[in-house]
């Protein structure tokens, strides 16, 4: 049973991390495409329309990948986590069904119109279709975040005598305070990814001396939105998300920060290795009192360390949680620096002469993917050992009759299929990028 549980967890972790590579681009890109379509209408600049068409192709490939890797997520709640589904389906099923009914129908219908209906709809109609695709994907994100937020911080429910949860307050569930900050933090993270991708393609074109007029537009739009989103993702949304964790999952905060002992004036650890045998951080580089200040706005405030909690509520993989969190925060800081440098160069009108900087931009696009993945690992590892925080343990949620062998078979199968998907994806994306924005530029019928 122990191994089956590990395999169920690994399969879910693997499939959801792989899946989320695609929505984080499409959700952010949907916004940027709306901006491109808006600029085209406002400035009467046909090149923005052409840019939107180019990015729509990249969007469509990512969207298809997101759809096909997303369906397994809904299925796996039932196939691998049957006891959890029996327990909580009446609540989280609400938002999963709402996602289908409100977001997916909207998205799939208007994506068809957006990709195939430019001539039939006219410029304003096409802008509207782009906007509806954006709305659909951002709604979809909200429903998923509410689902996750209920598992992180359950609200609006009651437990009956048989240990079954029931929804008692729909609006409390839908407007979970945890969800609001998590949503903004997550969506801005998606915008960071897409901004760096757009800017990186622009940098590639500029550095190779092709499609220069597009390169300028991609770089300006990408870097400007990278600057705004990477700031907002840290402050206020990341900061508020951290305060939510401090308030509702204090043991998780202690594990994330690597704080083993309760302390007044706790230090913020920048780098160091958690040592689970001696329960301390080895080789730490830290800033005194900063953690207390960031959490409670007082330099000498007491922050609870792991020693304040019984061991059976400690997250079960503290080093991984600690590293994931520190990688996210570290990369987030680097994004702000890179984007700010770009703004500075742009302001001094040296952006397009600074080839060294454009090299950095071109090579930077994988890192937001890593940061977003690490952020989700922080959220999900931090919730352990609970599946629904404080209510249902992960060990009690798996399907009772699905054996470890079956789970291993399907996990390996998913790995094989997703490896194939990756090859196809990289091949198609590189092809679109090398064809460039002027390839197939007559609007489709």
């Amino acid at each position: 049973m122990e191994t089956a549980l590990t395999l169920h967890r690994l399969q879910f972790a693997f499939t959801i991390m792989y899946h989320y590579l695609f929505p984080q681009l499409t959700m952010g890109l949907a916004l940027l495409i709306v901006i491109m379509k808006g600029l085209a209408l406002w400035k009467k600049d046909e090149l923005y329309n052409r840019s939107a068409r180019f990015w729509a192709k990249i969007f469509a490939i990512n969207f298809a990948m997101g759809v096909v890797t997303g369906i397994p997520m809904e299925f796996q709640f039932g196939t691998n986590w049957a006891k959890f589904s029996t327990f909580a389906g009446g609540i989280i099923g609400q938002t999963l069904a709402m996602e289908g009914v409100f977001a997916f129908f909207l998205e799939s219908s208007f994506l068809g119109l957006f990709l195939f209906g430019e001539k039939k709809l006219g410029p304003r109609g096409h802008f509207f279709a782009a906007f509806m695709v954006f709305l659909g994907s951002w709604l979809s994100g909200y429903f998923i975040i509410v689902t996750n937020a209920w598992m992180q911080h359950p609200v609006g429910y009651s437990l009956d005598a048989e240990g079954q949860v029931h929804l008692t307050d729909f609006w409390a569930f839908l407007l979970n305070p945890w969800a609001l900050w998590q949503y903004l933090h997550n969506m801005l993270g998606a915008v960071v990814t897409s901004s760096f991708v757009v800017a990186a393609v622009g940098a590639f074109y500029w550095l190779t001396g092709q499609h220069l007029e597009y390169a300028r537009r991609f770089l300006r739009l990408g870097l400007a939105s990278a600057a705004v989103s990477s700031l907002l993702v840290a402050f206020p949304t990341g900061d508020m998300q951290g305060k939510m964790v401090a308030k509702h999952q204090p043991v998780t905060l202690a594990a994330m920060e690597g704080l083993f002992q309760t302390k007044e004036g706790a230090e913020l650890i920048l780098i160091g290795q958690p040592d689970m045998e001696n329960l301390r951080i080895d080789n730490p580089i830290h800033i005194p009192n900063l953690l207390s200040f960031l959490t409670y706005h007082r330099w000498k405030a007491e922050v609870k360390g792991l020693d304040a909690f019984p061991r059976d509520v400690w997250p079960d993989n503290i080093p991984l949680l600690y590293y994931a969190y520190h990688i996210m925060v570290g990369l987030g800081t680097i994004f702000i620096a890179v984007a700010a440098l770009g703004m500075l160069l742009w302001w001094r009108q040296r952006l397009f002469d600074s080839r060294w900087y454009l090299w950095i931009v071109m090579l930077s696009f994988p890192f937001p993917y890593i940061a977003n993945t690490a952020g989700w690992m922080t959220a999900e590892l931090g919730r352990q050992p609970w599946l629904v925080y404080g209510v249902l343990r992960t060990a009690d949620g798996a399907s009772p009759l699905v054996s470890g062998g079956n789970a291993l078979f399907t996990l390996l199968g998913f790995m094989g299929i997703y490896a194939t998907l990756s090859l196809l994806f990289v091949f198609l994306i590189l092809r679109e990028v090398s064809h460039g924005p002027d390839h197939v530029q007559q609007p489709l019928p």
Partner: protein, 348 residues
Amino acid sequence: METFWYIALSFMFIMYVILDGFDLGAGIVHFWVGRTEGDRRIILNAIGPYWDGNEVWLIAAGGTLYFAFPKLYAASFSGFYLPLILVLWVLILRALGIELRHHVQHLMWKAFWDRTFSVGSLLLTVFLGAALGNIIRGVPLNQDGYFFVPLWTNFLPGPHPGVLDWFTLLFVAVAVSTLTVHGAHYLAFKTGGELQQRAARVAGRAWWGLTVCSVLALVATPAVRPGFWARFGEHPWGGAFVLLSLAGWLGMYAFNRKGEHFRAFLASAAFIAGMGAVTAFAHYPVTLYSSVNPAWNLTVHNTAAGAYGLKIGLLWWIPGILLACAYFAYLFYIFRGKITSVPEDAGY
């Protein structure tokens, strides 16, 4: 309240089979009707703007099942673990077949994805048929309300059956022949020229297969599931669904012969709706039979979510579904008309 959600779910699953059914059917007859690369391009463009939205009906129905009858969702999804994961893999490959085909102008590339799409469509239809057969036959539910079925055992419907046995294979044949007819009708009304004529011929021939399989299934059902027709005796108005299937069955034949392809398509849709409704009506209030002990059957009552949740669900489900129907009507309106030729690098 449970009854409302049972009807709502039956409605959503039937919508799914009608809508995704035509693109699955188009996939089954992809090589049969589409002889040249150009033909197959037309077929893919005929389903192009719709297939993804059609599939959303499955996702939305799954989500609704999850929230209204969480225990049923948990039991059936974990019990059908292997076939469902296989469905996922086939869904992934089939979708890629449709989406990736037009990206590269190379005959080998297109030939490969055409086959992926067609075989994937056939396999999904096989699973749909097997699912229907399993629901009617029952599964080895234990006293905790869980089960696990292997893909096959001895191919006999007994207390410990597999997903595939002679009875469920019969429903596989019903599903494949029905969606072949349905998909061919769709192509006949959506295309023109030789392609249209071929589609109509395919539909006409497959109709005989559908008739034979349906009659056999009709004979076999009371043998495997005694009392299947009992509720029709208690509530004769359920007979309306039987009449709907019959009308659809006759309509398919008559309209296809007369060359009224749109009406033939509506007739096959009516046939699917009728058959689905008959099954849902006959089963109520049972949602999943236990082949081990009838006391362990899952019903709408012992699997439903709390009363408050079910009531609040009405608040968003009704406007949501109306909106979805409106999007579909708009989509079909915008992309109305026949597709007779498609440039090589456009669309699908």
